[in-house]
Amino acid sequence: MAISTTTTAGGAGGDDPEARATAIAGEAPPAADADRLTIADRTGLLRRMLEMRGIEQRAMTLYRQGQVPGSFYDGFGQEAVSAGAAFAMAPEDRLCILHRDLAAHLIRGVEPERIFAQYMGRMSGLTDGRDGNVHFGDHRLGCVGMVSMLPDMMLVAVGMAMAFRMRGERRCALTWLGDGATSRGDCHEAMNWAGVQRLPVIFVLENNQYAYSTPTRLQYAVDPVERAAGYGFPGVSVDGNDVEAIFAATLEARERAIDGGGPTLIEAVTMRMHGHAAHDDMAYVPDELVDHWRGRDPIELEERRLVAIGVDVDSVRAEVAAELEQALARAREHPMPAASTAGDGVFCEGKAQALGDGLGPWSGYA
């Protein structure tokens, strides 16, 4: 697997983040981990990535048609990061999922129909129209929905891991974070706390080169994967467009975590291929950078691998397309929330229910 522990100067590409991204991107696709992943697993990973892309492409259209209110944020080109990491977790693990990580929701068992309904502000069982389209997490499936203030969820993940350790449970918490989030204090507080208490938590740094319009060279002086050593735990950098590489790095981190080995920071180097949100044409991104990453599409990369071992990826694509058309049609049947309920639910009136387990057929690899 193409995993480099970054105990030396910046890993591939040295300290220049753009050169580093280019260097990693230019590597040949790593070989699949045949011992770990069956063909069914790998097809499942591809399928989740195709679903993520298909849902987001349809949602972008819905947004332009005025059927998705607000703005719309997608993870085009980053599908491997959430798919690979979430796939490596166990149903009893807990996740804080961010706005470019849709595949993680799918892996935990959230149906595309409910995701479309959520995007359109309809009753979905996710937030029932109360929170912005990508801000959700199905707590019954072990997920906490993000807030806009990044990286707040890192601390929540650390707290979940702290509870697991206090209770002596072999479970793990995982959250994603972006390159921009590494600048805020909560990121430091979370990694420091996790290191001090050696907690079973995994931080997946989704380094997509831009925080809105701000490139990483204006965000940090040293690649943040280097910081892990300063907090006393491993930092690894992987090709963020290689779903199997992310899976393998996460699985290894999870094994270390539940064995008492403490946290891991995984940097998934990738590229945000769309603007920050639907309104953003990202004219600030150099064309050559986009062109370079377009040639490294994570879905195409995995498809090439599967085709080589005889998987009929065209059929998978066709099945996903049909599934999503049906899901969208059903989502349109979900009612809009009644205005009379706008004030409901600020406080919990009954008993507090803890997060549930992942229930998707793919939410239990580990």
């Binding site: 707040d152 650390v158 509870a163 909560d186 600020v346």
Partner: protein
Amino acid sequence: MPEMTYLQAITDALREEMRGDERVFVMGEDIATYGGAFKVTEGLLEEFGSDRVMDTPMAEAAIVGTAIGAAVVGMRPVCEMQFSDFVACCFDQLVNVAGKMHYRQGLAVPIVIRLPSGGGFSGGPFHSQNPEAWLMHAPGLKVVAPSTAADAKGLLIAAIRDPNPVCFLEHKNLYRRIRGDVPSGAYETPMTARVAREGDDMVVITYGGMVWSALEATEDLEGASIRVLDLRSLVPLDEEAILEAVRECGKVVVVDEANATCAAGAQVSSVIADRGFEFLDGPIRRVATPDVPVAFSPSLERALLPQVEDIRETCRELLAY
């Protein structure tokens, strides 16, 4: 019924709940080995061990953020801010993560944040604040502020058992000054107002440390019968008790130790103006700290924080209205 200080009653509540519910644990800066800056958690480490009485890094956002994480996987964390002023450092976690979670996702966040608050001892601008209005303004947070030892225990137990984030304001100036009979065992005090003293010529509405100032100020005021209403809870706010007091007394003084603008007392005054106007026999009068940081030097601090004489003078003026 044993007599104990306000501080001992808080410790007693923590001990009762930790004995009765293994999900309950306490966390904060210097609370374990040292027993807390005010010694509220003294002795708990020996009884419950370092997992359940946790010294944390000096990181307030992390204290609240990790408490949220622990709570949503089934624990019942009780966090200590060393001083309530430091809640500013974790405001984002409290307001945006904890406060909105249930509304957004139907996920309850049963955490308690203990906030040693208030001035009167030259703590200066960063160790004397009363931050309740910040918290009241954030949907999804409950805010309670006991004034007696018995209520400190009962409200803290109620807060720990509540499925929502509860900010528990414990006034530092009451810790060792106020004593009272405290029932043994676990009990919950409701998050409603209490009549601290009966009366029907006028009512002073207040909470926390100012309850005692109000009682002293109105104990013998030209023979008038002056009620003191102790709010105990600011969110939820007991509007019916407020309106009942106004209806029965006709004249109202509202006292905050906090800065005046948008204070709890401003909200109380608004409720009265909106729903109790016809019961009023005079203007609603307020006593509060001006919108100035709490100064260090005793002469300046006294000039800023409401003193017994300030409350008495305002009451005297209103009685004569």
